[in-house]
């Protein structure tokens, strides 16, 4: 591609006519991330060589990030195994599924919710602050494009060792970027995850989730229909941001050249995004949108190709009309630019004037850059010449699909054989020390240093936020209808067994949502893996997708959309396979939600669920012994479903006063967290091996405070759903006491976990 011309000069354009006349001209397809076969395929589709702008367009559209070329074959499982769509009108019905900007779920009372999680891993390593900030911005525009008002964000973060020097660079930047963008945009941050592991040292994971709410009739799709309708680009001007980001950044692993890629990261302006949100909602309410699409990765290329392909129409665009921040940009750069805070709308000619007036009211620049045609072609001109002339579906949906070899890695059996049984277990008197050690471990320490940097109160509908089991947002102030959301993932479990690991991530998020009293209804996922060109990684990916698809089918919670992030590796070493799963639940009345906060001294404490010997990949094995081996806990989805079936009516009928899901660190850590949150101690006696009962990570369990007088009703409910119910003891005092083992004061517990992150990053 030609270098950018100096200001004032006109760079020579590579036009369709020139391309036809110079079939042999060498083109930099490899530098743009295309293989020789892909390049030949483009030539075949066009029956000539592509122009430079066309090559740029295909390179970003066919990048791994945009085309899902390595994952598509596997992701079909989500649709093939999707649970039956429920009868119309029942909460949980899918109104839009995979393939749209985000999935949309009916939650009843005429409301629908759209939610999606997406990665911004590579940009966040290169430039943590802007990388994470624009990750938030991008997912918010996906939600906006569906017609919804964004109402909350969450983030799932993974970094290298907490005490590694580079983590001190990356983590504060990432958290600062999320804080800056989300707070200024006015979206409450209601939770997420924070974990550390050496495998993420050169490749942090920054996964951002956004949830939005709309009325059914506000649902919109990305489709350009109606010849003569105008194509309007609105929002920020286009500059040289993130050019090549989609293909170069997101699809290549980091080597020595990381510094040279710096300019590929985009810069965010949350103020413009806030204006764009309000402007889009007003445009939608005024009925002026015939189609809408956000500009994310691959910018104008993606928006025009997807809108044209989605509508089965054609589109003609004049690239000279794209408002530029840098007037020296050529057509290829305009097409590839990932400048943030831009949207594209399809508008009937009679509405253009009102459209412009609303944009002007919000100080949002809006420009007609083209129109819908009936030709079935995506045509673009620049300086009077045709520079793009393609069938849009060839870029949008007919990219290459690879069936990459997948082979179970050689070391997988040895890993499974290295069971944690050989690890020395603490004596009963040492169990208090073990608990304090786990609370000091950064993964389980108090996360306030991070979560305090996020506004969780704005919009005034946040009912629960971190460190609760799940975030809960009120949707309707009158009826109390609301939604619960949790994201979970565990790279160690998935490393030991990706099929089980994906199901355990699903199970944990499902359980976290259920623990608030909500009914889990739908799933989004962000699949973070190493290079798909590594057969071992491809096996991990295939197994994880299979596990998640099977799990969702069993639980009746469809995958509504998500994102795949490959090439998360440094050199030849991939990250742990890390499927992150987000689960959405519905609460008929948020006033009945359950908090993890223990409330009443004297109340009875119970454990719901069955505890087994589950230490493979556990927090204890890893944090205390540095051991990762054996088998992860067996996901028992029938038990998860039964537990959720108990928790929803128990919350609704007021049988429980508090509930906390058990996950990393087991019962011991959950007890400590709920005691500290409620500023009350507990006296617990355990029937059986106290170490196993306290630290095993068997899934499908919650610890709960029973409401006064509800014992019989709770027992009957558990009996009905065959959920084991175990008496643990009573709340009260200022110590967590386990009879025959240890007693630790609340102060000791608080001191252990407080200040850990501040000492590392403050």
């Amino acid at each position: 591609m030609s270098a950018r011309a100096a200001p004032g000069t006109v760079p020579a354009a590579d036009t369709v006519a020139v391309a036809a006349a110079t079939p042999q001209r060498a083109q930099p397809y490899a530098e743009l991330g295309l293989t020789q076969e892909e390049y030949q395929r483009i030539r075949g589709l066009l029956a000539r060589r592509p122009t430079d702008p066309e090559l740029a367009l295909y390179s970003v559209m066919w990048s791994e990030h945009c085309s899902y070329k390595s994952s598509r074959r596997h992701l079909r499982r989500f649709a093939d195994k999707a649970p039956q769509v429920k009868v119309d009108g029942e909460a949980g019905t899918l109104l839009a599924g995979i393939g749209h900007n985000a999935g949309v779920v009916d939650i009843g009372q005429g409301y629908a919710v759209t939610f999606k999680i997406e990665s911004h891993n590579h940009p966040s390593y290169v430039e943590p602050f802007q990388g994470a900030a624009t990750g938030v911005g991008g997912i918010v525009r996906d939600i906006l494009a569906m017609g919804a008002r964004p109402v909350a964000v969450m983030d799932s973060l993974r970094f290298g060792p907490a005490d590694a020097p580079d983590t001190a660079r990356v983590l504060p930047g990432v958290v600062g970027g999320i804080s800056f963008y989300g707070n200024c945009l006015g979206l409450p941050n209601i939770g997420g995850e924070l974990a550390f592991d050496p495998c993420y040292a050169g490749n942090p994971l920054v996964n951002a989730l956004c949830v939005g709410v709309m009325r059914h009739e506000d649902l919109r799709f990305a489709a350009a229909r109606g010849a003569g309708n105008k194509v309007i680009l609105f929002g920020a001007r286009t500059g040289p941001d993130g050019i090549g980001g989609a293909s170069v950044l997101a699809s290549a692993s980091f080597g020595a050249g990381a510094a040279a890629k710096r300019p590929s990261v985009q810069v965010g302006d949350p103020f413009m995004e806030k204006l764009l949100v309000e402007c889009c909602l007003e445009l939608g309410a005024a009925g002026l949108l015939a189609g809408i699409q956000d500009l994310g990765a691959a910018g104008v290329s993606c928006a025009t190709a997807e809108l044209a392909a989605g509508g089965g129409s054609g589109m003609s665009v004049n690239l000279d009309l794209v408002p530029l921040r840098d007037t020296s940009l050529g057509p290829a750069e305009i097409l590839m630019s990932e400048s943030q805070e831009r949207m594209m709308a399809i508008v009937e000619p009679r509405h253009v004037e009102r459209f412009a007036a609303i944009c002007a009211r919000w100080d949002v620049p809006a420009t007609v850059i083209g129109e819908v045609t009936g030709t079935g072609r995506l045509e673009m001109t620049w300086r009077g010449e045709v520079v793009v002339d393609i069938a849009p579906e060839t870029a949008a949906s007919q990219g290459p699909v690879y069936d990459r070899p997948a082979v179970r890695p050689a070391g997988q059996d040895e890993l499974a054989a290295d069971v944690p049984d050989r690890l020395p277990r603490p004596a009963p008197a040492e169990l208090g020390g073990t608990l304090l050690a786990l609370l000091r471990w950064p993964d389980l320490a108090d996360k306030t240093w991070v979560t305090e940097q996020y506004d969780r109160h704005v919009l005034g509908d946040t009912v629960l936020a971190a460190p609760e089991n799940a975030g809960v947002i009120r949707v309707d102030e009158q009826t109390g209808l609301g939604v619960a959301l949790a994201t979970d993932g565990n790279g160690r479990y998935s490393r030991l067994d990706p099929y089980a690991g994906a199901q355990l991530a699903l199970a944990e998020a499902y359980r976290n949502v259920a623990a608030t009293g909500a009914r889990p209804v739908a799933v989004t996922n962000c699949l973070n893996f190493g290079s798909p060109e590594d057969p071992g990684v491809m096996w991990q990916f295939a197994e994880a997708v299979r596990g998640l698809a099977d799990g969702c089918a069993f639980l009746g919670t469809p995958v509504t959309g998500g994102n795949v992030s490959f090439y998360n590796q440094t050199g030849q070493v991939p990250i742990h396979p890390t499927p992150v799963v987000g689960v959405l639940g519905v609460l008929p009345d948020v006033r009945r939600r359950l908090s993890l906060r223990f409330r009443r001294a004297g109340a009875r404490l119970v454990l719901l669920g069955r505890t087994g010997e589950d230490f493979g990949g556990s927090a204890w094995a890893w944090a205390v012994h540095g051991h990762l081996g054996g088998r992860p806990p067996a996901a028992d989805l029938a038990a998860e479903r039964a537990l959720a079936a108990v928790l929803a009516p128990a919350a609704e009928d007021g049988l429980l006063a508090a509930a906390h899901d058990l996950s990393e660190g087991g019962l011991a850590v959950a007890l400590a967290e709920s005691c500290l949150a409620g500023a009350t101690g507990a006296r617990v006696s355990l029937p059986g091996d106290p170490f196993t009962l306290l630290f095993s990570e068997s899934p499908a369990r919650v610890v709960a405070e029973v409401a006064p007088g509800a014992d019989a009703a709770l027992a009957a409910l558990c009996e009905r759903h065959r959920v084991p119910l175990m008496d643990l003891g009573t709340l009260g005092g200022d110590r967590l006491e386990v009879a025959g083992c240890f007693a630790v004061t609340l102060d000791e517990l608080a001191t252990a976990r407080a200040g850990v992150l501040a000492a590392l990053f403050g």
Binding site: G176, S179, F180, N183, C184, G186, D269, P270, F271, M272, K274, L275, A357, I358, R361, W362, D363, T451, E452, Q453, Y454, D455, R456, H457, V458, L459, G460, D461, T462, V463, R474, E477, V590, R591
Partner: protein
């Protein structure tokens, strides 16, 4: 859309009757580009029995409201300096003289910053000493009762509200601080720890007349235990609706 006030709930136009005796207090809530807590302020007014009236930054007309709230957020992206651009918004052209003439005005967070930039309140707000944004439930003591915004509180009463800001550090020169203390212009003070480095633990101040109040913490996020730390903040809104109806 240049102008006409619309109802926050229904989007319907709100009839504006100037100069009548209010039966329900009509409290304007200004939306600047980048305002974020405007809906929350309107909700708090409604919960307090008042009628929230949306005011638009580009519209000079105050639409005859009985009081005005400048809500939290990042007006104009907080570019240049927090509140520095909002101060020049058309709506301020009418608001500033009205405030000087006694109109009750409450600035919350970014609204407080705007009031300082507009010289309706003394002092300035700058970066928290920790240099990070903080969202935290804080205890504050009401130091000045009897203003239109604090009439429902007792002097010395401690309440829990939500602080959420990156630039909540209140600053003024020594003479101004001495005057604020001597004249009873400190409205609220942090107790149990200074979260952002504010001089004299100041969380809120008023003008000498008492009608203009700036608060760094958000009382509108403490009006319902379901969505905040409690309902301690509602008093700012019931105070003004009561004061206006009694007038």
């Amino acid at each position: 859309m240049a102008g006409g006030a619309v109802c926050f709930d229904t989007g319907e136009p709100v009839a504006c009757v100037r100069g009548r005796t209010p039966v329900t207090a009509r409290v304007g809530v200004v939306t600047f580009p980048g305002s974020l807590d405007d809906r929350d302020a309107a909700r708090a007014v409604r919960r307090a029995g008042g009628q929230p009236v949306p005011l638009w930054h580009g519209d000079r007309d105050l639409h005859g409201v009985d009081a005005v709230i400048l809500p939290g957020g990042f007006s104009y992206g907080d570019y240049l300096r927090c509140g520095a651009i909002a101060r020049f918004a058309p709506v301020m052209a009418d608001l500033v003289p009205a405030a000087r003439a006694g109109l009750p005005v409450l600035g919350i967070c970014n609204g407080f910053q705007i009031l300082c930039e507009a010289h309706l309140l003394p002092g300035a707000l700058t970066h928290n000493t920790g240099l990070r944004f903080i969202d935290r439930e804080v205890r504050v003591r009401i130091e000045r009762d009897g203003t239109p915004w604090t009439g429902d509180y007792e002097r010395g009463q401690e309440i829990t509200v939500v602080l959420k800001s990156g630039q909540g550090h209140y600053l003024a020169d020594a003479a101004t601080l001495a005057r604020l203390e001597a004249e009873g212009q400190v409205v609220a003070r942090y107790t149990g720890g200074n979260p952002n480095g504010s001089a004299h633990d100041i969380a809120g101040v008023t003008n000498p007349a008492g009608n203009v109040v700036g608060l760094m913490p958000h009382p509108e996020h403490a009006i319902d235990p379901l969505t905040g730390p409690g309902s301690d903040g509602l008093g700012f809104f019931t105070s003004v609706t009561r004061a206006l109806v009694a007038r």
